[in-house]
Each structure stands twice: as C-alpha cells, then as structure tokens.
C-alpha cells in the first residue's frame, strides 16, 4: 500500500480537547462516598479538637540553608538557558512545525509538561519556576535598567491582569475545539511572550511578573513546598504545606486560584455523562460556544460559592478586632485544594500522555528527525493501573481538603479568640466540603 503510516503514527496519539481523548475510569460511588465521609468527619473534628494557638506561621520561614551561593546561581543560569532553549523549540515547533497534533512537540509540551508537570513539581520542590522560567528570563533581558518614569496601570499593580492569560489558556485547553493545534499554541505563545516582554520594557520586571499569570499560579503552589524563600531572602527548609501560612494572598491571587480551580472543575464536568448529553452532537464552533458557557458557569459557581462564604464569615466575625476581608484572609487555604484537584485530574495524563514528550522531543517539528533515538518508543498505556489512578485521585482530593482545613483553622486562631475562631470556620468549612464533594462526584463520571 502507500505506506503513509510510518513509525511515528504508530505511537502517536491525537490530543483532542486540549488534553487527549483518553480519560480515567470513573470512580465507584462507594469509594467516593467513603472518601467524602472521611473528609467530612475529620474536618468537623478539626473544628473543635485542633490547636487553639497559631502554629504554622512561625514554621513557614523554615531553617535557613547556607552554602548554595555561587554554585547555585551557576546551576540556575544553566537551567535557565536550557529552559529557554526548550521554550524556543516548543514555540517555533507550534508556528512552523508539522501542524499535526500527534507529530508536533508543542501540544504535549504545553498541556502536559508545562501545565501539569511544572506546577506539581513546584509544589513538591519549591519556587524554581520563578528562577528559570522563560518569560522571567525574557522579561529580565527586556527590561531597561531604569524603568520609565510613568507608573504602571492599576490593573497590573493589583495583579488582576494576570487572570487574562490564565483565563485564555484554560479556554484554549478545555473549550476551544482547535485548542490542541500546534499553530494555535505556537502563535498564542508568541503573542503572549511579546506581551510580557512589552510590559517588562515599559514598566520593568516586577510589572511583567505580575502580568505573567502562570508564574503567579505556579509560585503560589510552590508555597506548599518544603523549600522556600525566607523573609530575610535566604533559602529555607520547612515542613511541606506550612509555607502557605506565611503571608495572606493578594485579592487578585485569590481570584486567580479560584479561576484555575473553576477551570479544573469544568474539566471534570466536561468528562461526565451529564455534560456528554449537553454537548452531544456538537462540533466545531458550535461545541466551543456551549463549552465556553459551561466553563464560565462552573468558574462563576466556584467563585461565587467562595465569595458567599467570605461574606458570611465577615458577618460572623463583625465587631471583632480583625474583621473584614475574610475571603482574602483565608485564600491561602485554597492552595492545597487546587493542588489536590490538579493532581486528581492530571496524574494519569502526566504519567501516560507524558511519555509522548520523550517520543516527540526527538522530532519536535514533525520533520522525520530522530534526535535522541526515541521516536519509535512505544507508549506504555498500562504503566499505572486504573486502581492506582483511582486511589491517587481520591487521596489527593481528600488530602488537599484536609490541608486546606488545617491552614484555615490555623489562620482563624491566629486572628480571633477560640470562640470566634470556631464560629468563623463554619462558612469556610462549608465551602471546602462543597468543593470536595463536588470534586468527588465529578470523579464518579
């Protein structure tokens, strides 16, 4: 025959809908039910039984680590250059490489390596992305030593502009019908990079960092890591999770976390049979329009639920010393929940579709190269069993929930006397339980 099917098409997989045509098996109702019950019982126990004096904030700094110094800076520079090189390959592959999802490095690099591996790794090892990420590198190169005199717009200072790229990214990943096309990703990446560079040039590196929403999200997740920057600027070692207790999130950062949480939740919704029926028979722009409405709907539900809990918390603590800004005060407790959702939804994507990165890195432009001799490596689709995936999903959602409850509890006893602190936690706990049950229900398909 004509022999069109080469070795590449044998292992390659079409990544439609941003993240692939494979999803995990639905969890059984009993697994989800028991997990929800455990989460709930432990949370309510936490309300009364846990410590009554704040413990976590003092641990957040961690023990200082010395001796990284020059060697560390050299290593960071090397990694920075390597990441910039990979970034360049990914963007140019998107723009000039084969416009075929299964023969181009960019979709897997963007949706698996960048959006799953980097945030999860940051939460595990620390805020490395800020030191090596490509946009930070380019922003530093582009910013003038002395920023122009004009003050940056309030939208940048407040950090709200960061929601634009992240929102657009979620839309591309989860909704847009052509969101996995290399051309779309390549051009979007280039436009975004130019925007970040322009901001850096006009208003300096700090402004560029505030606009670079992905870096903000990744850095926030890195607060959960056992390694972090101490208040004195040195690196510190600490227990996992406690870093989040250090300083409250900015309002725009809370918004950003809720946006990503809503996006991940919509990803779950879109895998359910319910959504399958809603979207049934739609393709192309027709599907995109319905998906956009769905994404907005879930993001709004997630955000409004949190906002209402904040309002209720404000009311329950009114008249006390530290009143107001309830939603911002507890924003950090959303971080482990976001991480839990992220791991639950994308763990199997990382270990299964992630194997494609090795395959496609050998021929990033789809030109028939085999740079590393890995182009014909088969993907082992049974590397993790559905049972393992199921327990990872349950474990991460429940653990994220419990960690969120602990962080919120600690912040409440830091803010108020025990009686008020207890009272203040009802709305927070209600919204966290709602997120967790919602997350678990989504997992049952």
């Amino acid at each position: 025959m004509t022999g069109v099917a080469g070795p590449l098409t044998e292992v390659a997989v079409v990544l439609a809908h941003g993240v692939g045509g494979r999803t995990d098996l639905p969890l059984s109702a009993w697994q989800a039910g028991w997990s929800a019950a455990v989460a709930m019982v432990l949370s309510f126990a936490a309300l009364g039984l846990l410590w009554h004096r704040p413990l976590l904030a003092v641990l957040a700094d961690g023990r200082p680590v010395s001796g990284i110094g020059a060697a560390g800076r050299w290593a960071a520079t090397l990694v920075r250059a390597a990441v910039l090189a990979v970034f360049t390959v990914v963007v140019t592959a998107g723009i000039v490489g084969a416009d075929d999802v299964s023969a181009n490095l960019s979709p897997v690099a963007v949706y698996v390596a960048f959006w799953v591996a980097v945030p999860v790794l940051s939460a595990l090892v620390g805020p490395f992305w800020r030191s090596v990420g490509p946009w930070d590198t380019l922003a530093r190169l582009a910013s003038r030593r002395r920023p122009a005199g004009s003050a940056e717009p309030a939208a940048i200072t407040g950090g709200w502009l960061a929601m634009v790229p992240v929102g657009a990214f979620l839309w591309l990943e989860l909704v847009y019908h052509d969101g996995a096309r290399p051309r779309v990703l390549g051009w979007a990446g280039l436009v975004y990079t130019l925007a970040v560079v322009a901001v850096a040039r006009r208003w300096g590196t700090e402004a560029a960092r505030r606009v670079e929403g992905f870096g903000v999200v990744i850095d926030l997740l890195a607060r959960l890591a056992p390694v972090g920057r101490r208040a004195d600027g040195r690196w510190g070692l600490r227990a996992p999770l406690v870093g989040a207790a250090a300083e409250p999130l900015r309002p725009s950062e809370v918004g950003l976390v809720l946006l990503v949480l809503g996006g991940t939740a919509f990803d779950g919704v879109s895998r359910t049979r319910f959504w399958g029926n809603v979207a049934s028979g739609r393709s192309g722009w027709d599907a995109t329009v319905v998906g956009t409405a769905g994404l907005l709907w879930v993001v709004v539900v997630v955000g409004v639920a949190y906002h209402l809990a904040g309002r209720l918390g404000d009311r329950l603590t009114s008249g006390e010393e530290a009143s107001g800004d309830f939603a911002v005060r507890f924003g950090h407790s959303l971080l482990p929940i976001l991480l839990g959702y992220h791991v639950a939804h994308y763990f199997s994507l990382l270990v299964l579709e992630g194997q494609l990165f090795r395959v496609l890195a050998s021929d990033p432009y789809g030109r028939g190269w085999d740079l590393f001799g890995t182009v014909a490596t088969p993907v082992d689709w049974t590397l993790v069993s559905p049972t393992t995936v199921g327990w990872v999903q349950l474990g991460s959602i429940v653990a994220g929930h419990l960690a969120g409850v602990l962080l919120a509890h600690d912040r409440s006893v830091a803010s108020w006397r025990p009686a008020v602190a207890l009272r203040s936690q009802y709305p927070m706990l209600a919204v966290m339980v709602a997120y967790t049950v919602f997350g678990l229900v989504l997992m049952t398909g």
Binding site: H17, T23, R271, G281, G284, V379, S385
Partner: protein, 254 residues
C-alpha cells in the same frame, strides 16, 4: 500490553480476511497473495490523508459497477464493469496519468487488494454477510472522486463454507445522521481483554477514529463500517469523526 502487541493481535485476527486471489480472465486460477498484507491491516489510513483527484469536469467520467456472487466455498467472485478509464497495473514509480487507474477492493471496509483485473476471486472470507466494495484509484493510489464521492460500487454477499466468524465479546452499534449521533453519544462498557466490535453507520463519508487505541475505519456515506478492537488499555476513550470532530461514542474499558 503495548500498542504494538494490540496491532499484532489484530493482524492475527484479521489476517484471514486479507488473503486474496486475483484471477486472470478464465484460464486457470493462480492464487496470488497480495504483497505486504500486514501493513494494510486497518485499511483506512492509507487514503484518508491523500487528496483525491476530482473528475467532475470530465464530460464522460469513468464508472464502476460490480456483481458479487458467493462461490459456496468461503469465497466470492467479483465481476467489475469499468467504463471510461484504462486499468493498468500500478507498478513503480506510481506516476499519475490521466485516463489510467486501477481498482481498490475492500471487504467490510478493509482494503484487501489492488488490481487491474476485472474478475476478482476473494477467498478465505468469514461466513456471513460481507460487504464488498470496489473503487477507482489513480496510479499513485489517490482516489478518483466524482461529486465528492469515490467512483465505485459496493454489494453485500452472503459467504458460506468459509472461516468461522470471530465472535466478539461485545457488539455495539451507533448511527450518525445529519451530523448527529442518533439517540445521543453512547458509552460502551467492556472489560479489559474483551474483543469489541462497533458498527458505525453514517449518512456521509467520513472516518471514525478511536483515541489512544489509534484505530480508524472509513465509512462510506449510507454505508457502515466495523471498528474492531481488543480492549487492552483501561480507561475511557473517545471516538470521533475525523472530518467534523463530532464525538461518536465513548468506549469504557475497566
């Protein structure tokens, strides 16, 4: 199990369908096995990616009609009546020449032969209803197209005395009509290791692709095609139409 072993399993399962004899015009039957039958096991990738040659401008475009008769011994004879084109053996180097072409023969959507003969003897078919289709292809194996469709003909034949049918563990069917999946997008639930057959009927030409398993099958407008997979990878997998991206069904393997 890896994707390759799935492929191997399918080749073994489907190989009997692919043994083909092309006979000369009457003088004895010299069985000739098609070359490289392992490489065109799914019969659909081959043409989908190449643009066809549109013959709409011809005053008298070529035509193909077929008559298929069972031979009672596990095979069928196909008589092809071709008008308006010269059939030539497509030898290397496959240069396209207007007015020349050859026939692509398929059984149940799987291409089994390429030939310039108008009398074809298919052997070692599986018992039961088989759909035989013949279409015109250029020397460089591109489809000739007329009004957006293949130039060809198809017919059903009831095969007897042939191979025992491979009985799948599950048989599902789904129908696409006017860009919609009739009755909503179904989710077919099977167990790991099951042999699954999914019948796809469509009112328009398209190709059905099952993600991750990376299996495709072409379906002709008004016809049906069979997607057969051994369910070795657990998970939920989407199948969609290659052309429109419409989701056709989900396969849940647990």
């Amino acid at each position: 199990m890896t994707l390759n072993s799935v492929r191997r399993a399918l080749v073994v399962l489907l190989a009997p369908l692919m043994l083909v004899v092309a006979c000369g015009t009457g003088d004895g039957e010299a069985p000739v096995k098609e070359d490289g039958h392992g490489s065109h096991d799914h019969g659909s990738h081959d043409h989908g990616s190449l643009p066809g040659i549109v013959l709409d401008d011809l005053a008298e475009p070529p035509s193909v009609r077929i008559v298929v008769e069972p031979d009672g011994a596990g095979g069928a004879t196909v008589e092809v009546v071709v008008d308006g084109i010269d059939l030539v053996v497509a030898d290397q180097p496959f240069d396209h020449r207007p007015g020349e072409g050859h026939l692509h023969v398929s059984v149940d959507g799987t291409t089994v032969a390429m030939t310039a003969d108008t009398k074809i003897h298919l052997v070692d078919l599986v018992d039961g209803h088989r759909e035989v289709a013949v279409s015109l292809s250029s020397n460089d194996h591109r489809d000739y197209l007329l009004a957006g469709s293949l130039i060809g003909d198809s017919a059903m034949v009831v095969v007897t005395g042939g191979l025992a049918p491979i009985i799948p563990d599950h048989v599902f069917s789904v129908e696409v009509f006017e860009g919609q999946v009739v009755g909503g997008v179904p989710r077919f639930e099977v167990s790991v290791g099951d042999l699954v057959e999914i019948e796809v009927a469509s009112d328009a030409d398209d190709e059905v692709h099952l993600h991750t398993y990376d299996e495709s099958v072409s379906v002709a407008g008004g016809g049906r095609a069979f997607l057969r997979v051994e369910a070795t990878i657990p998970g939920v997998f989407e199948a969609e139409l290659h052309g429109s991206g419409l989701k056709v069904f989900e396969l849940q393997v647990s």
